[in-house]
Protein backbone atom coordinates (compact mmCIF):
# COMPACT_ATOMS: atom_id res chain seq x y z
CA UNK A 1 0.00 0.00 0.00
CA UNK A 2 2.81 2.35 0.92
CA UNK A 3 4.55 1.41 -2.23
CA UNK A 4 1.40 2.12 -4.19
CA UNK A 5 1.08 5.55 -2.66
CA UNK A 6 4.75 6.23 -3.33
CA UNK A 7 4.37 5.22 -6.93
CA UNK A 8 1.22 7.28 -7.31
CA UNK A 9 2.89 10.32 -5.77
CA UNK A 10 5.98 9.92 -7.92
CA UNK A 11 3.76 9.53 -10.95
CA UNK A 12 1.79 12.63 -10.05
CA UNK A 13 4.75 14.96 -9.97
CA UNK A 14 6.29 13.78 -13.22
CA UNK A 15 6.63 16.35 -16.03
CA UNK A 16 4.12 14.33 -18.05
CA UNK A 17 1.27 14.51 -15.58
CA UNK A 18 2.01 18.09 -14.65
CA UNK A 19 1.96 19.08 -18.31
CA UNK A 20 -1.47 17.53 -18.62
CA UNK A 21 -2.58 19.36 -15.49
CA UNK A 22 -1.24 22.62 -16.90
CA UNK A 23 -3.33 22.12 -20.01
CA UNK A 24 -6.49 21.44 -18.02
CA UNK A 25 -5.86 24.43 -15.77
CA UNK A 26 -5.13 26.75 -18.70
CA UNK A 27 -8.31 25.86 -20.48
CA UNK A 28 -10.48 25.97 -17.38
CA UNK A 29 -9.06 29.46 -16.80
CA UNK A 30 -10.02 30.30 -20.40
CA UNK A 31 -6.45 31.09 -21.41
CA UNK A 32 -6.04 31.29 -25.18
CA UNK A 33 -3.13 28.83 -25.01
CA UNK A 34 -3.59 26.32 -27.80
CA UNK A 35 -1.50 23.98 -29.88
CA UNK A 36 -2.14 24.12 -33.62
CA UNK A 37 -4.10 21.15 -34.92
CA UNK A 38 -1.33 20.25 -37.38
CA UNK A 39 1.28 20.18 -34.63
CA UNK A 40 -0.91 18.04 -32.38
CA UNK A 41 -1.51 15.64 -35.23
CA UNK A 42 2.21 15.63 -36.02
CA UNK A 43 3.03 14.72 -32.43
CA UNK A 44 0.49 11.92 -32.39
CA UNK A 45 2.03 10.51 -35.58
CA UNK A 46 5.43 10.69 -33.93
CA UNK A 47 4.22 8.88 -30.81
CA UNK A 48 2.46 6.12 -32.76
CA UNK A 49 5.47 5.60 -35.01
CA UNK A 50 7.89 5.50 -32.10
CA UNK A 51 5.86 3.19 -29.91
CA UNK A 52 5.09 0.80 -32.76
CA UNK A 53 8.70 0.73 -33.90
CA UNK A 54 10.06 0.09 -30.44
CA UNK A 55 7.56 -2.72 -29.93
CA UNK A 56 8.69 -4.31 -33.17
CA UNK A 57 12.35 -4.03 -32.25
CA UNK A 58 11.67 -5.65 -28.93
CA UNK A 59 9.96 -8.58 -30.70
CA UNK A 60 12.91 -8.87 -33.09
CA UNK A 61 15.16 -8.86 -30.10
CA UNK A 62 13.47 -11.37 -27.82
CA UNK A 63 12.10 -13.56 -30.54
CA UNK A 64 8.43 -14.09 -30.94
CA UNK A 65 6.80 -16.34 -28.44
CA UNK A 66 3.75 -18.47 -28.99
CA UNK A 67 1.72 -16.19 -26.83
CA UNK A 68 1.55 -13.46 -29.47
CA UNK A 69 -1.38 -15.11 -31.21
CA UNK A 70 -3.15 -15.79 -27.95
CA UNK A 71 -2.54 -12.27 -26.73
CA UNK A 72 -4.05 -10.85 -29.91
CA UNK A 73 -7.04 -13.10 -29.47
CA UNK A 74 -7.39 -12.06 -25.86
CA UNK A 75 -7.29 -8.40 -26.88
CA UNK A 76 -9.91 -8.87 -29.54
CA UNK A 77 -12.15 -10.75 -27.14
CA UNK A 78 -11.80 -8.05 -24.52
CA UNK A 79 -12.61 -5.38 -27.07
CA UNK A 80 -15.77 -7.26 -28.08
CA UNK A 81 -16.89 -8.05 -24.55
CA UNK A 82 -16.06 -4.91 -22.57
CA UNK A 83 -18.70 -2.80 -24.40
CA UNK A 84 -21.37 -5.26 -23.29
CA UNK A 85 -20.33 -4.83 -19.67
CA UNK A 86 -20.09 -1.08 -20.09
CA UNK A 87 -23.52 -0.96 -21.68
CA UNK A 88 -25.13 -2.95 -18.90
CA UNK A 89 -23.43 -0.78 -16.30
CA UNK A 90 -24.61 2.40 -17.98
CA UNK A 91 -28.20 1.17 -18.08
CA UNK A 92 -28.02 0.47 -14.35
CA UNK A 93 -26.03 3.47 -13.18
CA UNK A 94 -27.34 6.23 -15.43
CA UNK A 95 -30.42 7.36 -17.31
CA UNK A 96 -28.83 7.85 -20.70
CA UNK A 97 -30.70 6.23 -23.58
CA UNK A 98 -29.76 3.11 -25.57
CA UNK A 99 -28.07 4.99 -28.36
CA UNK A 100 -25.86 7.10 -26.15
CA UNK A 101 -25.10 4.14 -23.92
CA UNK A 102 -24.00 2.04 -26.90
CA UNK A 103 -21.82 4.86 -28.19
CA UNK A 104 -20.15 5.32 -24.81
CA UNK A 105 -19.72 1.55 -24.44
CA UNK A 106 -17.80 1.40 -27.73
CA UNK A 107 -15.24 3.83 -26.35
CA UNK A 108 -14.56 1.69 -23.30
CA UNK A 109 -14.07 -1.49 -25.28
CA UNK A 110 -11.54 0.22 -27.48
CA UNK A 111 -8.28 1.71 -26.20
CA UNK A 112 -6.40 4.96 -25.74
CA UNK A 113 -2.93 4.69 -27.16
CA UNK A 114 -1.67 7.67 -25.17
CA UNK A 115 -2.64 5.99 -21.93
CA UNK A 116 -0.72 2.97 -23.18
CA UNK A 117 2.30 5.13 -24.00
CA UNK A 118 2.21 6.80 -20.60
CA UNK A 119 2.03 3.40 -18.92
CA UNK A 120 5.01 2.23 -20.96
CA UNK A 121 7.11 5.07 -19.70
CA UNK A 122 6.09 4.40 -16.11
CA UNK A 123 7.14 0.77 -16.62
CA UNK A 124 10.45 1.88 -18.06
CA UNK A 125 11.15 4.22 -15.17
CA UNK A 126 10.47 1.25 -12.86
CA UNK A 127 12.82 -0.94 -14.87
CA UNK A 128 10.04 -3.36 -15.77
CA UNK A 129 10.08 -5.02 -19.18
CA UNK A 130 6.96 -5.97 -21.12
CA UNK A 131 6.25 -8.02 -24.22
CA UNK A 132 7.01 -5.91 -27.30
CA UNK A 133 3.99 -7.27 -29.09
CA UNK A 134 1.65 -5.51 -26.69
CA UNK A 135 1.53 -2.67 -29.22
CA UNK A 136 0.08 -5.13 -31.71
CA UNK A 137 -2.49 -6.11 -29.11
CA UNK A 138 -3.29 -2.44 -28.66
CA UNK A 139 -3.87 -2.10 -32.41
CA UNK A 140 -6.06 -5.20 -32.43
CA UNK A 141 -8.23 -3.80 -29.66
CA UNK A 142 -9.08 -0.55 -31.41
CA UNK A 143 -11.87 -1.71 -33.67
CA UNK A 144 -13.91 -4.71 -32.41
CA UNK A 145 -15.67 -2.62 -29.75
CA UNK A 146 -17.28 -0.57 -32.49
CA UNK A 147 -18.98 -3.65 -33.88
CA UNK A 148 -20.28 -4.59 -30.46
CA UNK A 149 -21.80 -1.16 -30.07
CA UNK A 150 -23.48 -1.34 -33.47
CA UNK A 151 -24.87 -4.74 -32.56
CA UNK A 152 -26.21 -3.33 -29.29
CA UNK A 153 -28.04 -0.64 -31.21
CA UNK A 154 -29.37 -3.00 -33.89
CA UNK A 155 -30.61 -5.40 -31.23
CA UNK A 156 -32.36 -2.48 -29.58
CA UNK A 157 -34.97 -2.70 -32.30
CA UNK A 158 -33.77 0.02 -34.59
CA UNK A 159 -33.55 -2.72 -37.20
CA UNK A 160 -33.71 -0.41 -40.18
CA UNK A 161 -30.25 0.84 -39.29
CA UNK A 162 -27.84 -1.01 -41.53
CA UNK A 163 -24.10 -0.87 -41.42
CA UNK A 164 -22.76 2.11 -43.36
CA UNK A 165 -20.97 0.82 -46.44
CA UNK A 166 -17.20 1.36 -46.16
CA UNK A 167 -17.36 1.89 -42.45
CA UNK A 168 -15.76 -1.42 -41.60
CA UNK A 169 -12.87 -0.81 -43.98
CA UNK A 170 -12.46 2.72 -42.66
CA UNK A 171 -12.30 1.50 -39.09
CA UNK A 172 -9.84 -1.31 -39.78
CA UNK A 173 -7.60 0.92 -41.88
CA UNK A 174 -7.84 4.07 -39.84
CA UNK A 175 -4.61 6.03 -39.72
CA UNK A 176 -3.56 5.17 -36.19
CA UNK A 177 -4.01 1.42 -36.61
CA UNK A 178 -2.09 1.42 -39.88
CA UNK A 179 0.73 3.51 -38.47
CA UNK A 180 1.01 1.48 -35.29
CA UNK A 181 0.98 -1.87 -37.07
CA UNK A 182 3.16 -0.62 -39.92
CA UNK A 183 5.86 0.78 -37.69
CA UNK A 184 5.67 -2.37 -35.56
CA UNK A 185 6.57 -4.41 -38.65
CA UNK A 186 9.28 -1.93 -39.65
CA UNK A 187 10.81 -2.21 -36.21
CA UNK A 188 10.54 -5.98 -36.35
CA UNK A 189 12.18 -6.13 -39.78
CA UNK A 190 15.02 -3.74 -39.05
CA UNK A 191 15.62 -4.74 -35.45
CA UNK A 192 18.32 -3.29 -33.25
CA UNK A 193 20.29 -1.95 -36.19
CA UNK A 194 17.29 -0.04 -37.45
CA UNK A 195 16.71 1.26 -33.96
CA UNK A 196 20.30 2.44 -33.67
CA UNK A 197 19.80 4.60 -36.78
CA UNK A 198 16.78 6.41 -35.47
CA UNK A 199 17.01 6.12 -31.68
CA UNK A 200 18.07 9.78 -31.29
CA UNK A 201 14.73 10.61 -32.89
CA UNK A 202 12.29 8.06 -31.49
CA UNK A 203 13.84 7.20 -28.13
CA UNK A 204 15.67 10.14 -26.53
CA UNK A 205 13.17 12.94 -27.11
CA UNK A 206 10.12 10.70 -26.62
CA UNK A 207 9.30 11.76 -23.08
CA UNK A 208 9.58 15.42 -23.94
CA UNK A 209 7.26 15.15 -26.92
CA UNK A 210 4.85 13.25 -24.71
CA UNK A 211 4.82 16.22 -22.31
CA UNK A 212 3.79 18.67 -25.02
CA UNK A 213 1.28 16.19 -26.37
CA UNK A 214 -0.27 15.78 -22.95
CA UNK A 215 -0.33 19.54 -22.55
CA UNK A 216 -2.52 19.58 -25.64
CA UNK A 217 -4.68 16.70 -24.39
CA UNK A 218 -5.12 18.66 -21.16
CA UNK A 219 -6.23 21.70 -23.12
CA UNK A 220 -8.75 19.66 -25.08
CA UNK A 221 -9.97 17.77 -22.00
CA UNK A 222 -10.35 21.02 -20.08
CA UNK A 223 -12.32 22.57 -22.91
CA UNK A 224 -14.54 19.50 -22.93
CA UNK A 225 -15.12 19.71 -19.19
CA UNK A 226 -15.92 23.41 -19.45
CA UNK A 227 -18.49 22.86 -22.16
CA UNK A 228 -19.70 19.35 -21.44
CA UNK A 229 -19.55 19.67 -17.68
CA UNK A 230 -23.29 20.08 -17.28
CA UNK A 231 -24.07 16.67 -18.71
CA UNK A 232 -21.66 14.94 -16.34
CA UNK A 233 -24.27 13.79 -13.84
CA UNK A 234 -22.99 11.89 -10.78
CA UNK A 235 -23.96 8.51 -12.23
CA UNK A 236 -22.14 9.23 -15.46
CA UNK A 237 -19.09 10.51 -13.63
CA UNK A 238 -19.02 7.43 -11.42
CA UNK A 239 -19.19 5.24 -14.50
CA UNK A 240 -16.13 7.02 -15.89
CA UNK A 241 -14.12 5.84 -12.88
CA UNK A 242 -15.69 2.45 -12.16
CA UNK A 243 -15.63 1.15 -15.71
CA UNK A 244 -11.84 1.41 -16.05
CA UNK A 245 -11.48 -0.47 -12.80
CA UNK A 246 -13.72 -3.26 -14.07
CA UNK A 247 -11.89 -3.24 -17.38
CA UNK A 248 -8.54 -3.49 -15.65
CA UNK A 249 -9.68 -6.51 -13.66
CA UNK A 250 -10.77 -8.25 -16.87
CA UNK A 251 -7.38 -7.37 -18.37
CA UNK A 252 -5.69 -8.77 -15.28
CA UNK A 253 -7.53 -12.06 -15.69
CA UNK A 254 -6.65 -12.44 -19.35
CA UNK A 255 -3.07 -11.34 -18.78
CA UNK A 256 -2.56 -13.85 -15.99
CA UNK A 257 -4.23 -16.62 -17.96
CA UNK A 258 -1.84 -15.96 -20.84
CA UNK A 259 1.13 -16.01 -18.51
CA UNK A 260 2.40 -12.60 -19.55
CA UNK A 261 5.22 -10.90 -17.69
CA UNK A 262 4.24 -8.49 -14.94
CA UNK A 263 4.81 -5.58 -17.29
CA UNK A 264 2.68 -7.28 -19.90
CA UNK A 265 -0.13 -7.90 -17.45
CA UNK A 266 -0.03 -4.27 -16.39
CA UNK A 267 -0.24 -3.14 -20.01
CA UNK A 268 -3.14 -5.51 -20.68
CA UNK A 269 -4.90 -3.94 -17.72
CA UNK A 270 -4.19 -0.45 -18.99
CA UNK A 271 -5.53 -1.29 -22.45
CA UNK A 272 -8.70 -2.74 -21.00
CA UNK A 273 -9.13 0.18 -18.63
CA UNK A 274 -8.56 2.93 -21.16
CA UNK A 275 -11.17 4.47 -23.42
CA UNK A 276 -10.73 5.57 -27.01
CA UNK A 277 -10.89 9.23 -27.97
CA UNK A 278 -9.78 9.15 -31.61
CA UNK A 279 -10.89 6.14 -33.64
CA UNK A 280 -14.17 5.42 -31.91
CA UNK A 281 -15.53 8.98 -31.80
CA UNK A 282 -14.93 9.27 -35.54
CA UNK A 283 -16.71 5.98 -36.20
CA UNK A 284 -19.61 7.01 -33.98
CA UNK A 285 -20.09 10.27 -35.88
CA UNK A 286 -20.53 8.22 -39.04
CA UNK A 287 -22.51 5.29 -37.71
CA UNK A 288 -24.50 6.74 -34.83
CA UNK A 289 -24.67 10.48 -35.58
CA UNK A 290 -27.63 10.93 -33.22
CA UNK A 291 -25.55 9.91 -30.21
CA UNK A 292 -24.26 12.89 -28.28
CA UNK A 293 -20.54 13.51 -28.86
CA UNK A 294 -20.18 15.76 -25.81
CA UNK A 295 -21.19 12.85 -23.66
CA UNK A 296 -18.72 10.29 -24.92
CA UNK A 297 -15.84 12.68 -25.53
CA UNK A 298 -16.10 14.35 -22.16
CA UNK A 299 -16.40 11.04 -20.39
CA UNK A 300 -13.51 9.42 -22.20
CA UNK A 301 -11.15 12.39 -22.41
CA UNK A 302 -12.24 14.46 -19.43
CA UNK A 303 -12.87 11.77 -16.83
CA UNK A 304 -11.40 8.37 -17.64
CA UNK A 305 -8.23 9.55 -19.32
CA UNK A 306 -7.09 11.75 -16.40
CA UNK A 307 -8.15 9.08 -13.92
CA UNK A 308 -6.04 6.44 -15.65
CA UNK A 309 -3.13 8.79 -16.16
CA UNK A 310 -2.91 9.85 -12.54
CA UNK A 311 -4.28 7.09 -10.33
CA UNK A 312 -5.14 4.22 -12.63
CA UNK A 313 -1.71 3.38 -14.02
CA UNK A 314 0.07 3.15 -10.65
CA UNK A 315 -2.85 1.16 -9.29
CA UNK A 316 -2.91 -1.34 -12.16
CA UNK A 317 0.85 -1.72 -11.94
CA UNK A 318 0.73 -2.33 -8.20
CA UNK A 319 -2.06 -4.88 -8.70
CA UNK A 320 -0.12 -6.67 -11.42
CA UNK A 321 2.93 -6.79 -9.19
CA UNK A 322 0.97 -8.07 -6.23
CA UNK A 323 -0.87 -10.75 -8.15
CA UNK A 324 1.77 -11.72 -10.67
CA UNK A 325 4.84 -11.12 -8.54
CA UNK A 326 7.81 -9.21 -9.97
Amino acid sequence: MDQLLGLAAENLISPIILSFALGVAASLARSDLSIPEAVAKGMSIYLLFAIGFKGGVSVADHGIDGRLGLALLAGITLSFVLPLIAFALLRVMTRIDTLDAAAVAAHYGSISIVTFVAATSVLESQGLAAEGYMVAVAAAMEAPAILSALWLVARGGDGARKMEPNLLREIMLNGSIVLLVGSFFIGWATGKEGLADIAPFIVSPFQGVLCLFLLDMGLVAGRGLREGGRIMRPGVLAFGVIMPLIGSVCGLGFGMALGLSTGGVALMMVLSASASYIAVPAAMRVALPEANPSLYLTLSLGVTFPFNLTLGIPLYLALAQTVNGG
Partner: protein
Protein backbone atom coordinates in the same frame (compact mmCIF):
# COMPACT_ATOMS: atom_id res chain seq x y z
CA UNK B 1 -17.91 39.47 -70.21
CA UNK B 2 -20.22 36.63 -71.13
CA UNK B 3 -21.63 35.11 -67.94
CA UNK B 4 -24.16 32.38 -67.24
CA UNK B 5 -26.64 31.70 -64.47
CA UNK B 6 -25.64 29.02 -61.99
CA UNK B 7 -26.29 27.88 -58.46
CA UNK B 8 -23.73 27.86 -55.69
CA UNK B 9 -24.44 25.17 -53.11
CA UNK B 10 -22.49 25.32 -49.85
CA UNK B 11 -22.69 22.41 -47.46
CA UNK B 12 -21.08 22.61 -44.02
CA UNK B 13 -20.70 19.09 -42.72
CA UNK B 14 -18.60 16.96 -40.38
CA UNK B 15 -15.19 16.02 -41.76
CA UNK B 16 -15.88 12.32 -41.27
CA UNK B 17 -18.75 12.62 -43.75
CA UNK B 18 -16.78 14.44 -46.43
CA UNK B 19 -16.08 11.49 -48.69
CA UNK B 20 -19.62 10.18 -48.36
CA UNK B 21 -20.98 13.56 -49.34
CA UNK B 22 -18.66 14.01 -52.31
CA UNK B 23 -19.47 10.50 -53.50
CA UNK B 24 -23.16 11.37 -53.35
CA UNK B 25 -22.52 14.62 -55.22
CA UNK B 26 -20.67 12.80 -57.97
CA UNK B 27 -23.47 10.29 -58.23
CA UNK B 28 -25.96 13.12 -58.64
CA UNK B 29 -23.95 14.29 -61.63
CA UNK B 30 -21.89 17.26 -60.47
CA UNK B 31 -18.72 17.92 -62.46
CA UNK B 32 -16.67 19.31 -59.60
CA UNK B 33 -16.60 20.67 -56.07
CA UNK B 34 -14.22 22.47 -53.74
CA UNK B 35 -13.61 21.70 -50.06
CA UNK B 36 -12.79 24.51 -47.64
CA UNK B 37 -11.47 24.00 -44.11
CA UNK B 38 -13.56 25.21 -41.18
CA UNK B 39 -11.93 26.54 -38.02
CA UNK B 40 -14.83 26.26 -35.65
CA UNK B 41 -18.44 27.06 -35.17
CA UNK B 42 -21.48 26.86 -33.03
CA UNK B 43 -24.96 25.47 -33.44
CA UNK B 44 -27.59 23.54 -31.60
CA UNK B 45 -25.05 20.88 -30.72
CA UNK B 46 -22.75 23.38 -29.04
CA UNK B 47 -19.55 25.18 -29.93
CA UNK B 48 -16.38 23.55 -31.17
CA UNK B 49 -13.00 24.70 -32.41
CA UNK B 50 -10.27 23.10 -34.39
CA UNK B 51 -7.50 24.16 -32.01
CA UNK B 52 -5.77 21.15 -30.56
CA UNK B 53 -8.11 18.61 -32.10
CA UNK B 54 -6.34 15.33 -32.45
CA UNK B 55 -9.38 13.48 -33.54
CA UNK B 56 -11.10 13.79 -36.88
CA UNK B 57 -14.32 13.29 -34.98
CA UNK B 58 -15.26 16.85 -34.29
CA UNK B 59 -13.96 18.83 -37.25
CA UNK B 60 -16.10 20.18 -40.07
CA UNK B 61 -15.50 21.14 -43.67
CA UNK B 62 -17.42 23.20 -46.18
CA UNK B 63 -18.08 21.68 -49.57
CA UNK B 64 -18.85 24.18 -52.31
CA UNK B 65 -20.43 23.06 -55.54
CA UNK B 66 -21.26 25.23 -58.53
CA UNK B 67 -23.88 23.75 -60.84
CA UNK B 68 -26.22 24.53 -63.68
CA UNK B 69 -29.60 25.56 -62.24
CA UNK B 70 -31.38 22.57 -63.77
CA UNK B 71 -29.19 20.17 -61.82
CA UNK B 72 -30.05 21.65 -58.47
CA UNK B 73 -32.81 19.27 -57.50
CA UNK B 74 -30.77 16.17 -58.20
CA UNK B 75 -27.91 17.53 -56.19
CA UNK B 76 -30.02 18.52 -53.22
CA UNK B 77 -31.67 15.14 -53.12
CA UNK B 78 -28.33 13.36 -53.24
CA UNK B 79 -26.80 15.63 -50.63
CA UNK B 80 -29.79 15.50 -48.37
CA UNK B 81 -29.64 11.73 -48.13
CA UNK B 82 -26.18 12.10 -46.65
CA UNK B 83 -26.73 15.17 -44.54
CA UNK B 84 -30.11 14.15 -43.21
CA UNK B 85 -29.09 12.36 -40.04
CA UNK B 86 -26.01 14.52 -39.51
CA UNK B 87 -25.39 17.97 -38.18
CA UNK B 88 -24.65 20.51 -40.89
CA UNK B 89 -26.05 23.33 -42.96
CA UNK B 90 -26.95 23.56 -46.65
CA UNK B 91 -27.37 26.88 -48.46
CA UNK B 92 -28.01 27.66 -52.12
CA UNK B 93 -27.20 31.01 -53.70
CA UNK B 94 -27.81 32.34 -57.20
CA UNK B 95 -24.64 33.29 -58.96
CA UNK B 96 -23.21 33.79 -62.42
CA UNK B 97 -20.14 32.04 -63.76
CA UNK B 98 -17.60 32.50 -66.50
CA UNK B 99 -16.89 29.55 -68.77
CA UNK B 100 -20.26 27.83 -68.37
CA UNK B 101 -19.14 24.86 -70.44
CA UNK B 102 -17.33 23.67 -67.36
CA UNK B 103 -20.41 22.97 -65.26
Amino acid sequence: MQTHQAKRVEITIEAVMESRLTDALKKSGVTGYTVLPVLGGSGRSGAWSRAGQISRASGMVQVVCIIRPDRLDDLLEGAFAVVERHIGVVTVTDCVVLRAERF
